[in-house]
Structures are given as structure tokens and as C-alpha cells.
Amino acid sequence: MAIVMVRVDERLIHGQMALAWLRQYNVDTVIVIDDESANDMMKTMLLQMAVSGTIKCIVTTLANAKGVIEANKNKNLFLCTKLPAVFLELLKQGVAIPQINIGGIYSTPGRTPYYKTIFLDDAIKRDILALEQYPVKVEYRVVPGDTEIDIISELKKKAK
């Protein structure tokens, strides 16, 4: 019982999440860490609807995240957020995260494409590289069945 999986996806909970990720890992509670969604009733409700019947969904702010994770530590948790900076902060606060899947950071002006679903700007790239200092496995996959790509070493290679 603990944090089973952790995903960075700007669209938070959507098709792949509900269908592939939550079914692949034996999850009973999803914790969405996103200030904007937590402070908006409609967004919170949508996220709760998106997760199918038996799985619970908690939407919380970054400030409250550590507390919510602690309170639910005897459940199988799936954490989800929009950008890597959130998990960087949680790791700084001492939360034990075994693996981070970078799944979807989408195309907006100012970002360069790296993979099919990964578009980065300098700030986000810095955050991903900063994850290296913590004992956490960081990988890129679109769906659970894909091969895990070591995104940090790939980014470092491209920087050379």
C-alpha cells in the first residue's frame, strides 16, 4: 500500500488515464494535485466523474498534497499533476515517490517537440533534469504497454 504510480500529464485525467493507466496498476485512489482544479468546483467534479466507479478521486492543492497523501497512505495511490515542478516540490518535502511517468506535455507556442506527446520549454526541461538528484525513476511512456524511455538521459544527450 503506497504510491503505486505517478504521472505528469497536462490533461490530468482523460481517456488514456481512465482506460489504460488506472487499469494497469492496481489503484484504488487517484490524487490529482493541481491548484487550479482544486479551487474550481466544476473542474473537481469533472475529474471525479472521469474516474470510473470503484476508484476514488481526490483533487487537492500543492500545499495540502503531502497531508492528503499521508492520510491515504494505506491505499494504492496514483498521483497525477500537470507539470513536473509539482513532483519536484513533493520530493523536496520528503514524499517517497518510486517512479514518475512523464506522459503528456502538449504543444503550446514557445515549446519545442521532443516526443509525440512531449513539448518542452527551458523551464520545464530544467525541472525534469532536476528530478535526477532524487532516488526516483523518471521515464516517458504514452500508454503502460510502451517501452520506458529514460527521458533524463535522452534530454542530456540532446543538450550536447
Binding site: 482506460l19 487499469r23 466507479g53 509525440k116 504497454g145
Partner: protein
């Protein structure tokens, strides 16, 4: 078959396959359970079509499309597999065995075509930005036609050309152990789809229903249709036990809202255009062009006397969009209502409309993919496949009719009621717990029907028989006296364990089906 016949057949197959991007509105009529028998009928062998279509549907059952991920292509796999089976004179195993590899090849071409289509998409975007709407729409259709020709027509045409020649020259000369091995493997392959559904629905919670379905089929010899209907009754009963009257499904909205300036005629135009909303799928904006193409008639009407605002909304609606095809219509309804408000007062900005679309699209995709695709379509296609495999053409319609009702019904209802009531519709959907109730009921129906299908349609039986002291001992009969249909059950449960525990378990199961089939025949066990 002559080259002309192959050409025409390929054209037909590619037209049926492109339905989800074009004329059908994603009713998934091209899935093996319907399109297989259809192709069989056209080629003069409905029975073969039914059995191959039903079996192949089960092989592809676990493959679900979500976002940028497209599974091995069930449409071409199913239709070409059926064609091969009919061409070889009703040798089902040829069709069933080849369907998945063909599907994998077409899956790769899918990614290729999505990348090619970016050419049309960028031109369409440019045209929308310049107000050249008719031209933009041509590029939207160019994407659709490109997909039909490059992803569906070409692979089918090539496969049928090679395949028909190969079947004619080689099939008669392959050794008996190979064709028998293929036959046995083809009888095991359907267990893959069944294991996939059991994995999806959750065996740990659903096993009592599975046991019930298995007993009814194996010991009482009830047929699939009977078990399906019974399971529906059980699901409803289980759903109503312990629920109070407060849990109602009625949709009473708060106030009587008027419809605004978009009349039913305009909404109908959006409705039909929305059928092509997945047509220009690309990895940059996903379904952006399909979205703006669909709502364009509404924008034209709303901004009729403000050319600048009209142009701004066209360009803005070319932004990233991805959601479930039916739920996209809900977002369309909400967004055109917001555009109408924007045209009247300054309080609604373009940025707020974008934010609303963004907030809605992800979660609605989650519900759509898990409930409509992962549960609703899966259950009906499994029941339909079961009936087809029993040679009953009713199976095709048990699949298709619910699909049409869902696809066209939700597309219209979501569009219209989201336009009138806005996001209040979403609140209603949540508080009614409609989807949760449906999923719970579907789990019960699914478990019972799959158990029955495991008993009836996974063919694996032991051959050895010998005489001992004057008595004939048939090995399979020994097993049957302990637990009938033990081998099909064991096989399916083994596949389920593999899929539950291993990433990409389906490939292991596929390989095992063939290994068991061939090894079994060579050893003399099967």
C-alpha cells in the same frame, strides 16, 4: 478472384473502414462482428463470415483507442481475414489466424498516415486563419480521403492480391499437421478477448457472476442469448437492492431556458458535421480541425454582423482539442453557447471559452473511453460475437443497434442540451450517477456472458483414446466427468492471469495460442 473484383472489394472494405472518420459518426460498423459477416455475405458465404467475424472480434476485443494511441486495426484485420477465409473455401482458421498480424501492420500505417495528414491540417489551419472557409473544408476532407486510400485501401488491396494468389497455390500443399494446428489455434484465439474482458471488468469482484454464467452454459446448456437476457435481469435486480427512491434518473433542470439563436436546423448541421470530427486527427492539434469544421455553421450565424469577431473565433477554435467523439458534441454545445454570449456582452472572453473547452475535454474523454468504449461497446460486441459464432446473424444487430443508438443519440442529446443548459448538464450527469450505475450493471452482464462464451466457444478438447481391457477410454470424457469444459476454462483463466500480470500480455497469449495448437497436434494430444 480477378484483379477487378479484388479492386472493388478493397474499395468497399476501405469505405466501410473509414466510417469512424467520416460517414458513420463512429458507430464502429467496421468492427469484425458486423463487417466480417457483411463481407462474407457479399462474397457469397455468410456462414464463414459470421464465424470468422465473431472469432476475430474476440481476438481484437482488448484493443481500445485512446488519444494518440491506436490499437492493431480490427477493421482491416477482420474484413481481410474474412475475405481470406471465404477465398480458401471456408477455411476459417486462415482468416482467424491472419487477422491479428494484418491488424498490426495497418496499425503501423495508421501512424504513418496521421503524420502525412499534417500537410492537410496545416493548410486547413492557414485557410481558417485567412477566412477561406470552403478551402479549409476541402483540406479537412483531403485528410479523410488520404486515410481511406493510404491506410485502408492500399494495405487491403495488396494483402488480397498476395493472399488470393498464395491461397490458391499453396493452401492445398501445406502439410496436415500445419493446417490442423492452425485449426486448433483458431479455436483457442477467442479466449484472448474473453480473458481481456475479464481482466478489464475485474475477476476478483465479479467471479460469482462468472461462476453463475459458466454453470448455466455448461450444465444447463442455456444458449448465449438466454444467458445475456438473464444477466440483464440480475444486473437490474442487483442495482435496485438497497437503493432509495432519492436516487432517481430523472433529469429535471433548474430553469426553463430558451434555445437562443441557434435553431434545430443549425444544430443538425453541427450534428452531421460532427460525424467527421476525428477526420483530421493529427499529433499537433489532435481533433482541432474536426472541431472547428463542425461548429463553423454556428459561428457564422452567431457572428453574422461582426466579421472581425467571426474571424477571431474561427482562428481560436483551431486550437488543440481532444476528447471522446460523442462527448466532443457536449463540449461543442457548451462552447457555441459561450460564443453566443460573447457576441452579446464583453464578460465572456475568448480565453475563458478556451479554458472551458480545456477543462471539459480531458475528463469527458475519460468517461467516454472507459464507459462507452471500454464497457458499453465491449459488452455488446462480445454478446454479438458469441451469437455470430453460433451462426446466428442476429449477433450482428445485437452489436450494431445499441451502437447506433448510443452514437447518434448521445451526439444529438449532448449537443442540444449542452447548448441550452451549458455545464449544468455535466452536473446532472454526475449527480444522477448514470455512468457508475451503467458500469456496475455492465460488469454483471459481462461476467455472466463471457463465462458462457468461454464454455461454448473456446474449442480445446483432448483427442487421445485407447482401449484397456476391452473398454474404450476417451481421455476427454474422463475430464468431462469431473468438470465439463475444464480445458476451455483453464485456458481462458491462464490467459487472464498472463494479461493481468504481464505488460503486453496479449502478445504472449497470441504466441501461446499457436504454440499450444501446433504442439498439441504434433504430440497428438489435441
Amino acid at each position: 478472384m480477378s484483379i477487378l473484383e479484388i479492386f472493388l472489394l478493397s474499395l468497399l472494405i476501405s469505405f466501410i473502414a473509414v466510417e469512424t472518420y467520416w460517414w458513420g459518426g463512429a458507430i464502429y460498423i467496421a468492427r469484425p462482428v458486423f463487417a466480417g459477416p457483411l463481407i462474407g455475405l457479399i462474397m457469397g458465404d455468410l456462414q464463414t463470415g459470421l464465424i470468422v467475424g465473431g472469432s476475430v472480434e474476440l481476438v481484437f476485443l482488448g484493443g481500445l483507442a485512446m488519444g494518440a494511441y491506436s490499437p492493431p486495426n480490427a477493421y482491416i484485420g477482420g474484413m481481410v481475414g474474412t475475405a481470406f477465409a471465404v477465398m480458401s473455401g471456408g477455411n476459417l482458421e486462415i482468416g482467424i489466424a491472419l487477422a491479428y498480424p494484418i491488424g498490426v501492420l495497418v496499425q503501423m500505417v495508421n501512424y504513418l498516415v496521421t503524420n502525412i495528414n499534417i500537410v492537410w491540417v496545416e493548410r486547413a489551419e492557414k485557410c481558417y486563419n485567412e477566412g477561406k472557409i470552403k478551402q479549409a473544408e476541402l483540406f479537412h476532407y483531403a485528410s479523410i480521403i488520404t486515410r481511406m486510400i493510404v491506410q485502408f485501401f492500399l494495405p487491403t488491396f495488396i494483402a488480397l492480391l498476395i493472399g488470393s494468389a498464395a491461397i490458391e497455390s499453396f493452401y492445398s500443399s501445406i502439410p496436415a499437421w500445419f493446417s490442423n494446428g492452425l485449426k486448433i489455434s483458431a479455436g483457442i484465439l477467442p479466449a484472448i478477448g474473453m480473458a481481456s474482458i475479464v481482466n478489464t471488468l475485474g475477476f476478483k469482484k465479479g467471479w460469482p457472476y462468472f461462476l453463475g454464467g459458466f454453470v448455466l452454459a455448461t450444465y444447463l446448456n442455456m444458449n448465449i442469448m438466454a444467458i445475456a437476457l438473464l444477466s440483464l435481469a440480475v444486473a437490474v435486480v442487483m442495482g435496485t437492492i438497497g437503493k432509495s427512491n432519492a436516487d432517481s434518473l430523472s433529469f429535471n433542470f433548474s430553469a426553463d431556458k430558451s434555445q437562443g439563436i441557434l435553431d434545430n436546423k443549425t444544430l443538425r448541421s453541427i450534428f452531421f458535421r460532427s460525424f467527421t470530427s476525428m477526420g483530421s486527427f493529427n499529433y499537433k492539434g489532435y481533433n482541432n480541425i474536426g472541431y472547428v469544421y463542425s461548429i463553423a455553421p454556428a459561428l457564422k450565424k452567431i457572428y453574422a454582423d461582426n466579421k472581425e469577431a467571426y474571424q477571431e473565433s474561427l482562428s481560436r477554435n483551431c486550437e488543440f482539442f481532444n476528447s471522446h467523439p460523442y462527448f466532443s458534441n457536449l463540449v461543442m454545445g457548451v462552447s457555441v453557447a459561450l460564443e453566443e454570449q460573447k457576441s452579446k456582452d464583453e464578460s465572456v472572453t475568448g480565453a475563458s471559452i478556451t479554458a472551458t473547452k480545456t477543462a471539459l475535454m480531458g475528463p469527458l474523454a475519460g468517461i467516454g473511453d472507459s464507459v462507452f468504449q471500454g464497457t458499453y461497446r465491449t459488452i455488446f460486441s462480445a454478446i454479438g460475437a458469441g451469437l455470430c459464432m453460433a451462426g446466428n446473424v442476429l449477433g450482428c444487430f445485437v452489436y450494431l443497434i445499441p451502437q447506433i443508438i448510443l452514437a447518434w443519440g448521445t451526439r444529438w442529446a449532448f449537443l442540444k442540451y449542452a447548448y441550452i443548459y451549458g455545464t449544468e448538464l455535466v452536473v446532472k450527469l454526475k449527480t444522477s450517477n448514470l455512468f457508475d450505475k451503467f458500469v456496475e450493471g455492465a460488469n454483471i452482464v459481462g461476467m455472466m456472458v463471457i463465462a458462457a462464451m468461454t464454455s461454448s466457444f473456446v474449442s480445446i478438447a483432448l483427442k487421445p483414446a485407447w482401449t484397456l481391457g476391452g473398454k474404450e477410454i476417451v481421455l476427454q470424457a474422463v475430464f468431462d466427468s469431473i468438470l465439463p469444459k475444464f480445458l476451455p476454462l483453464a485456458c481462458m483463466l491462464m490467459f487472464y492471469q498472463i494479461m493481468a500480470k504481464k505488460k503486453n500480455g496479449i502478445y504472449i497469449c497470441l504466441a501461446l495460442s499457436f504454440v499450444i495448437g501446433f504442439a498439441g497436434v504434433i504430440i497428438g494430444l489435441l
